[in-house]
């Protein structure tokens, strides 16, 4: 394939990297002006449009000797990741204007998204590892970008746990490579499908290490220890970016590794890793929800809630035995709706804490009387996180639990029962927050102003939450198409 055609396929990632360089240069030349934010937005928009054109125009297929594959799965995530990041940039422009290292912030954000785009496209262990580390390194700096003790501490904790996770992941990769003799994911899948009983134990050993390594990115129990600390210590815009984009990329990698790389359904070890993810799912839900119950800091509540939500999503991975693509498409659909929901919640919290200077839940008392729109959007997002109709969170939960029940396996039905009980527990802290905002009286009734950019994104997020709650068909169709690309043709 010609260089030009390869560049066409790699467009979004290349654009994002290029944009990162341009933003740095512009920052150098223009100093503290707002031009960097604008350039970042333009880059993200161009990358998203490019991805949409690729979905429609068919610039798809394996490139660079099969190390990278552009298919409907990677394009789904390319669009999701760029859209989410653009929303974060718009929604937090007011915060960014006060950051000393604004150019670096935007530049690192673009590097991190660009690497995530490469990550969801990688079809080879080496590409996957390099993309994963590039995005992680950028995220470590982002977490510590503001010059205060808490931010540095969040960055250090994130980095140390991330480095250990990377080593564990690599150890698993080494064994996969050692057994299969290749680093290409389809090649490994070929090997796994024909592996005899003697290789089952070493394969299990390898994928346990791999699952532990990527579990860190997905933020599932027991690899979650960094989550509440980083969400609280890192600036909220970074927290919202990590909780949505980084988690989505983590799940994309898991799907790619376990469906394409370990052969998906019907291999000698499918049942083993499905069970492993089932245990992760149950433990994450229980731990996340119980942890969130006792928190009084809203950022920590959101941190624990995102651990619990990761548990919900992992149910879809455990449901690998379900017919066709219903398991992975549930994961994709859930991630799509979760992106809108969690972004809405995080940006609303960011808008409020910018004004109040406090993240305690008590300071949210009577928010409805002080900032009606923000309070309504936040309530809607919290309802969606709980999984109440008519929000998108409801459809996503029903879809993903349904995929588990469809497998007809008893332990998965039990897992769904655990998930339903957990939904009830989570309703307690989500709805308590809503009640505090709407029913309680504010100590100080002065109105809180939400900046224009944040208002726009909040409205957009709540519109998406309602739209996909009432009419989920288009997104479900896209998710199913994307998931179909994972399965061997």
């Amino acid at each position: 394939m010609s260089v030009l055609a390869t560049a066409l396929y790699l467009g979004p990632a290349a654009l994002l990297y290029l944009g990162a360089g341009v933003v740095l240069l512009a920052d150098l030349i223009h100093g503290r002006r707002a031009v960097t934010g604008l350039l970042t937005l333009v880059t993200l928009a161009l990358a998203a449009v490019w991805a949409v054109l690729q979905i429609g125009g068919g610039a798809q297929g394996p490139i660079l000797g099969g190390a990278i594959v552009v298919d409907s799965f990677s394009l789904y995530f390319t669009f999701l990741l760029t859209a989410v990041t653009a929303a974060v940039v718009v929604g937090t422009s007011e915060w960014a204007a006060k950051v000393e290292d604004r150019g670096e912030f935007y530049s690192l954000l673009l590097v991190s998204v660009g690497s995530m785009v490469l990550l969801v496209q990688s079809n080879d262990l080496i590409t996957l590892f390099v993309a994963l580390e590039t995005t992680s390194l950028a995220q470590f700096i982002l977490a510590g970008i503001t010059r205060n003790e808490r931010s540095s501490e969040a960055g250090l904790k994130y980095l140390l746990s991330g480095a250990v996770a990377a080593a564990v992941l690599l150890y698993g990769f080494a064994f996969l490579f050692g057994m299969a003799g290749t680093t290409s994911l389809p090649g490994i899948a070929e090997f796994v499908r024909h592996a005899g009983d003697g290789l089952r134990l070493p394969l299990i050993l390898a994928f346990v290490f791999v699952a532990a390594g990527v579990g860190f990115k997905m933020a599932i129990f027991p690899f979650h220890a960094w989550v509440p600390d980083v969400y609280q210590g890192a600036p909220t815009p970074v927290g919202s970016y990590l909780s949505v984009a980084s988690k989505a990329a983590g799940f994309a990698v898991v799907l790619r590794l376990f469906y394409t790389g370990l052969g998906g359904a019907g291999t000698p070890i499918t049942h083993d890793w499905a069970m492993l993810f089932g245990v992760f799912a149950a433990a994450s839900m229980l731990f996340g929800n119980v942890g969130a119950l006792v928190q009084t800091n809203v950022k920590r509540i959101l941190g624990y809630s995102s651990i619990a939500q990761a548990g919900n999503i992992a149910v879809g991975i455990a449901a690998v035995a379900a017919q066709g693509t219903v398991g992975p498409s549930g994961v994709l659909f859930f991630l799509g709706t979760y992106a809108a929901t969690n972004l809405g919640a995080f940006l609303a919290v960011n808008a409020v804490s910018e004004r109040l200077g406090s993240d305690e839940i008590t300071s949210y008392a009577g928010l409805f009387k002080r900032a009606p729109m923000t309070a309504v959007v936040l309530s809607l997002c919290l309802a969606s996180l709980t999984g109440l109709p008519p929000t998108a969170g409801f459809i996503a939960k029903v879809y993903i639990f349904n995929s588990a029940i469809q497998t007809g396996e008893v332990w998965l039905v039990g897992l769904v029962a655990i998930a339903v009980v957990n939904t009830a527990i989570s309703a307690f802290y989500y709805l308590r927050w809503v009640r505090t905002m709407i029913l309680d009286d504010p100590e100080d009734a002065t109105p809180i102003e939400t900046p224009g950019g944040a208002q726009g994104v909040l409205l957009l997020a709540s519109a998406a939450v309602l739209f996909f709650g009432l009419w989920p068909a288009p997104l479900i169709l896209l998710a199913q198409q994307a998931a179909a690309a994972l399965l061997p043709a």
């Binding site: 080496i126 003790e149 540095s152 501490e153 690599l170 150890y171 990769f173 210590g233």
Partner: protein, 102 residues
């Protein structure tokens, strides 16, 4: 020729020692060194597998090179953050970096 198992045992031992160090050490610098030991174990694994399984395919050796490069980048970044934390707090111990608690 030395059997492959010897390399795998060496690598497993190193990995275990590194992991123990991560859990037991308090200083961020020592934790970093422990992570480096874990990554060295991984690199040994890759090189051993590459040599014994398929001497003509280079992907294992390339992987080991990437592991080394990324590890170096990680250390550079980590030292930067540790240095900044040290300036603010005069300590590099992670358990004293605990303004964030649940």
């Amino acid at each position: 020729m030395i059997p492959l198992q010897n390399f795998l045992v060496l690598s497993a031992l190193l990995f275990g020692i590194g992991f123990y160090g991560v859990l037991a050490r308090r200083s961020a610098i020592l934790i970093l060194i422990s992570v480096e030991i874990m990554l060295a174990a991984v690199a040994i694994n890759f090189i051993a597998f590459a040599t014994y399984r398929d001497p003509k395919a280079f992907s294992g050796l390339v992987f080991a090179l990437f592991v080394i490069a990324v590890a170096a980048a990680e250390v550079g970044l980590a030292l930067g953050i540790v240095l900044r934390l040290f300036r603010e707090r005069r300590t590099a111990n992670v358990d004293e970096a605990s303004s964030l608690k649940w």
